[in-house]
Symmetry: C2
Subunit: 527 residues, 2 copies
C-alpha cells in the first residue's frame, strides 16, 4: 500500500505538469460530494443534522488518511486560517446578508444588537474572568492577562448553523430572526473584539485601556458599516446605470460577486471587520442591486450565493472534523489528561453561564419594552432555544484561536498548544454532542401545532401610516405630522425609526439606486 507522500511524489515526478495540490484537492472535493449526498440522506433523522454528519465524516476521513500515511502526514488535515478568512468565510457571511429577511431583521434590530454586541461583551468578560479564576485551579497556569481576555473573545463567538438548520424562517419568524441576526452580529463582534484586544500598543490592566478597547471597537464597527454600505450602493448604482441587458447575465453576476468580495478584501486591507462589511454589502445588494438585474440574474444570484455559502460551510465542518486528528498538535501539548479535561469542562461551563447571563435578562428587558406588542414577545421556551442555539462553538472560534495562539499554524509553546487542542475538542464536543440535541430540543419546546399558530399570527401585519413631511402640504399639516411623529417616536422608538427609514428609502434611495416598486405606504402618501 502506498503512503500519501509517495503518491504525491509519484504523481509530481512522472510528468512535470502534475501539481502537488492535485491530491489534496481531489480528496477534499470527493469527500465534499459524499457529504452532500449523505447529508441529504440523514435529513429525516431524529438526531443527526448535516453539520454533525459532516464533522463525523471529516473525522472518519482524517482517520483513514492518518492510517494510510502511517501517522506521519497531517498537512491535508491542518486547519488553515488564511484559507478560512480569505476564501471560506466571505461567501457564508455575504449569503447571510443577501438572504436576510430585512423586515424581520430591522424590526428586531435593537434586540439583535443587544444580544449580539452587548451579549458578546458580557459573555466575553465572564469567560475571561472565569477562566482567570478556574484555570489555575485545574493546574493550568502561564497565561498573561491579555490572553485571558483573548480567551473570552474567542469563546464568545457562537455558531448557530446547526440551530438554523432546524428552525424554519416561515414557521417561527421571530425566533429565527433573533437567532440568525445574533449569530451574524456576534461573529463580527467577537472578531472585532479580538482585534481590539490584540492591539500591541495598549496594556490590558487599567481602566483607560478597557475604554480604549471599547473606542476601537466602535471605530471598527462604524467604519466597517460605512464601507459595506458604500460598496453595496456603488454596485447598485453601476448596475442601474450601465444596464447589461438580458444576454449579459454572466456580467451582472460577475460584478455582484466580485464587488461583494472586494468589499470584504478592502475592509481587511484597511484593518476593518470584513465580516461586518460584507454582511452589510449583502443586505444593500439584496435591497437595491438585486432589483437592477435581469430575472435570470436574480435567480442565479440567489442560488449561486446560497450554493457558495453551502459549499464553504460543508468544507469548514469537514475541516473541523479532520483538524482534530492533526498529529503535531497532539504531540506538542503534553498536558495531563486531567488538566485538559478540567480546562474543557471549565470553559464549557463558563460558556453556558456567560450566555445565560445575558439571554434571559435581555429577553426580559425586550419583553418589558415591547409589552404592548404581543408579536415580539419572547416566550420562556424561546429564550431557552436562543440560549441553547448559542452554546455551539464553530469555525470562527477555531480561526480566532489559531490567530491568537499560533504563529504561521504552529503553536509556539506547550501552553498555547494545549489551548489549541482544547479549543478543538470543545468545538467538536459542542458541535457534535450539543448540536445533536438541538433537533429534539426544538421539537420539544416548539411543537408543530404551535409553529403553525405563530406563523398564522404573523399574517396579521400591523402597518403604521406615518406620513413624511412634504413640501406640497401646508405648514400646519406638516406641524401636525411632526407632532404626531414625535409622539409615536417616544412611544415606540424602533417601529417609528423603521417606518421613517422606509419612507426615506422610497422617496430618496430607490429612485437612485434601484429597488422594488414603491411600497403600499408610499402610495398612500403619493395619492
Amino acid at each position: 500500500m502506498e503512503s500519501y507522500d509517495d503518491l504525491i511524489i509519484k504523481s509530481s515526478v512522472r510528468f512535470r505538469s502534475s501539481y502537488p495540490l492535485v491530491v489534496p484537492i481531489s480528496v477534499i472535493v470527493a469527500v465534499l460530494c459524499l457529504c452532500i449526498l449523505i447529508g441529504h440522506l440523514v435529513k429525516k433523522s431524529r438526531w443527526l443534522n448535516e453539520s454533525t454528519v459532516t464533522v463525523l465524516i471529516g473525522c472518519a476521513i482524517g482517520t483513514i488518511i492518518l492510517f494510510w500515511s502511517k501517522g506521519t502526514n497531517s498537512h491535508i488535515l491542518r486547519f488553515n486560517e488564511e484559507l478560512f478568512f480569505i476564501y471560506l468565510l466571505p461567501p457564508i457571511i455575504f449569503n447571510a446578508g443577501f438572504k436576510v429577511k430585512k423586515k424581520q431583521f430591522f424590526r428586531n434590530f435593537s434586540t439583535i444588537v443587544l444580544f449580539g454586541v452587548f451579549g458578546c461583551f458580557l459573555s466575553s468578560g465572564i469567560i475571561a474572568a472565569g477562566s482567570w479564576l478556574l484555570l489555575p485551579l485545574v493546574g493550568f497556569t502561564g497565561l498573561k492577562t491579555r490572553e485571558y481576555f483573548a480567551l473570552g473573545a474567542i469563546f464568545s463567538s457562537t455558531d448557530t448553523v446547526s440551530t438554523l438548520q432546524v428552525l424554519n424562517a416561515n414557521e417561527t419568524p421571530l425566533l429565527y430572526s433573533l437567532v440568525f441576526g445574533e449569530g451574524v452580529v456576534n461573529d463580527a463582534t467577537s472578531v472585532v473584539l479580538l482585534k481590539a484586544i490584540q492591539r500591541p500598543d495598549i496594556s490590558i490592566a487599567d481602566f483607560k485601556s478597557v475604554a480604549q478597547i471599547f473606542a476601537d471597537f466602535f471605530y471598527l464597527f462604524s467604519m466597517s458599516t460605512v464601507l459595506g454600505v458604500f460598496v453595496g450602493l456603488l454596485t447598485a448604482y453601476a448596475l442601474k446605470k450601465i444596464y447589461f441587458a438580458e444576454h449579459s447575465t454572466d456580467r451582472e453576476i460577475a460584478l455582484l460577486v466580485l464587488m461583494s468580495y472586494l468589499s470584504y478584501m478592502l475592509a481587511e486591507l484597511l484593518n476593518l471587520s470584513g465580516i461586518l462589511t460584507v454582511f452589510l454589502c449583502g443586505i444593500i445588494m439584496s435591497h437595491y442591486a438585486y432589483h437592477n438585474v435581469s430575472d435570470h440574474s436574480k435567480v442565479t444570484a440567489r442560488h449561486a450565493s446560497a450554493t457558495m455559502s453551502f459549499i464553504a460551510e460543508t468544507f469548514i465542518f469537514l475541516y473541523l472534523g479532520m483538524d482534530v486528528l492533526d498529529i503535531e498538535k497532539w504531540n506538542q501539548s503534553n498536558s495531563s489528561f486531567g488538566t485538559s479535561l478540567g480546562i474543557q469542562i471549565a470553559i464549557i461551563l463558563l460558556i453556558c453561564l456567560g450566555r445565560a447571563a445575558f439571554v434571559f435578562p435581555i429577553s426580559a428587558l425586550t419583553n418589558y419594552m415591547n409589552k404592548n406588542y404581543e408579536r415580539t414577545h419572547i416566550t420562556f421556551k424561546s429564550q431557552i432555544i436562543i440560549w441553547w442555539a448559542g452554546l455551539m462553538r464553530g469555525a470562527v472560534t477555531i480561526a480566532l484561536a489559531f490567530n491568537q495562539f499560533t504563529y504561521k499554524g504552529e503553536a509556539g509553546d506547550f501552553v498555547h498548544a494545549t489551548l489549541m487542542k482544547d479549543t478543538l475538542i470543545i468545538v467538536l464536543f459542542t458541535t457534535v454532542v450539543l448540536g445533536s440535541i438541538t433537533k429534539p430540543l426544538v421539537r420539544l419546546l416548539v411543537p408543530h401545532h404551535e409553529l403553525n399558530n405563530e406563523s398564522q399570527q404573523n399574517t396579521y401585519i400591523e402597518e403604521l401610516n406615518l406620513p413624511l413631511i412634504s413640501l406640497k402640504d401646508s405648514t400646519s399639516t406638516n406641524m401636525l405630522r411632526a407632532k404626531n411623529s414625535l409622539t409615536m417616536l417616544i412611544k415606540r422608538p424602533i417601529y417609528t425609526i423603521h417606518d421613517f427609514w422606509r419612507r426615506f428609502d422610497d422617496t430618496y434611495m430607490r429612485p437612485v439606486f434601484g429597488g422594488p416598486p414603491l411600497s403600499g405606504n408610499s402610495l398612500i402618501i403619493l395619492s
Copy 2:
C-alpha cells in the same frame, strides 16, 4: 508614496490577522470589476473586443505597479502555471462543454476532429521543423531536438476566444461550431501532445519514438474521454435517484460543480488530460444531469457556469497583460533585439503557414465528402475565417511554455528565458494586433445579410428516419431495416452514426440517466 512592499508589510504587521494575500487579491478583484465595466462599454467599438481591452488594461495596471514599486516588485505580475491549470482553466473548459450545441457539434464531429487533432499534429510538425531550420538562421541556437518538438506543441495551441466573441452561434451555426469545436479539441490535443513529448523515457530522434508519442497520445485521449463520460453519467444518475426537490437548489448546483471539478482533478491525478475529461463531463452533464434538476437549478447552473468561465477568462487576459511586465524575465534574457525579433517573426510566420497547411486541405476534403449536403459546405470565405481564428495564441500557450521552459516559475538559463519572453510577446502581439483585426475581418467576409441567409438555410432540418432494430417486430422487418441502415451507413457515415446514437440514447440512456422528453424520431418508432 508608499511602495507595494511597504503596504504589504504594514498591513501584515499592524494586526496579525491581516494576510499578505489580501493586497494582491484586492488589486486583482478591483481591476476585474473595472475590466467588466470597460469591456461592456467597448462592445459597440469597431476594432476592440473584450479580450483585447482586458489585455491592455492588464498592461496598464502592470505599468502602474511597476512604477509604484520602483521597478522592483513583479510577484503580483507573474503568471502562475498552477493557478492557471488548477483554478482558471477547468471552469472555462467545463462551460465550453456545458454550453456546446451538441447537435451541431456532433454533426460536424469528423471535421472538428480533423481540424483539432490532425491539424494540431500537422501544424506542430511544421512549426517544429520550421523553427529547427529558421531559428539558427536568426542566430538563436542551443535547443535540443526534443525542445523543437515541444515548441511545435506549444505554438499549435490556438486561442479562439476573440473570434468567438465576434461570431454568433445562431447567425453562422456551421462556422461557429467549427471554430468553437476545433478550439476545444485543439486545447486538449496540444496539452496531451506536449505531455507525450515530455515523457522522459523516450528519445525523440527515431521513428519508434514518434510512434510511441502517437500511442501515448491515443491512450491519453481515450482514457480521458472514458473518465469524463463516467463522471458525467455518475452525477446524472445520482441526481436522478436522490432527487433533491425544489428547495435544495444549492445542493444540486453544488453537486454539479464539485463533480465536474472532481473529474478534472481525477484526470490530472491519473496523468490524463483534465481538459478533455472536463469538456466531456460538461457535455454529458448538459445532456443528462441538467434535466434531473429543478427549473431554478437549470437557470443557475447555466449562468453560474458561464459566469465562472467569464471571470476566469477575464482574469487570464488580465494576467497576460500584466505578465509581460515581469521585470525578472526581461533581465534574464540578454539576447539582442534583432535575434528576438527574428525569433518572433519566424514563429509567427510558421504559425500562419502551419495553420494554412491544414485548414484549406481539410476544408476541401470535407466539402468533397459532403458534396451532396450544401448545409455543411465550407465556403472559401469561411475557410479564411477559420484560418484566421486559429492564429491567435493565448493562455494555454503561455501555460505550456511555463511548463516546458521554466522550473517553479524561473527560467533556468538564458536560452529558456529568451524563449519565455518571446512566447509572451508573440501571445501579446497575436491577441492584441491580430485579435483587433478579427472583428472587421468577420464583418467584411460575412456581411450581415449573408449571415441571415445562412441562418434561414439552417431552419430547413433534414431528418433521417432510420429505425432501430426492435424485438417486437418480425425478423424480416428487422433484416430490411438492417440492410437499409447499412446502405445509409456507407453512403453517409457521419449522419448515420449520429442517428443511430440518437436512437440508442432515447431507448437506453435517457431512461436511466435522465434527459429531455423523447425526440420526434423516437415517437415515430413508438407509434
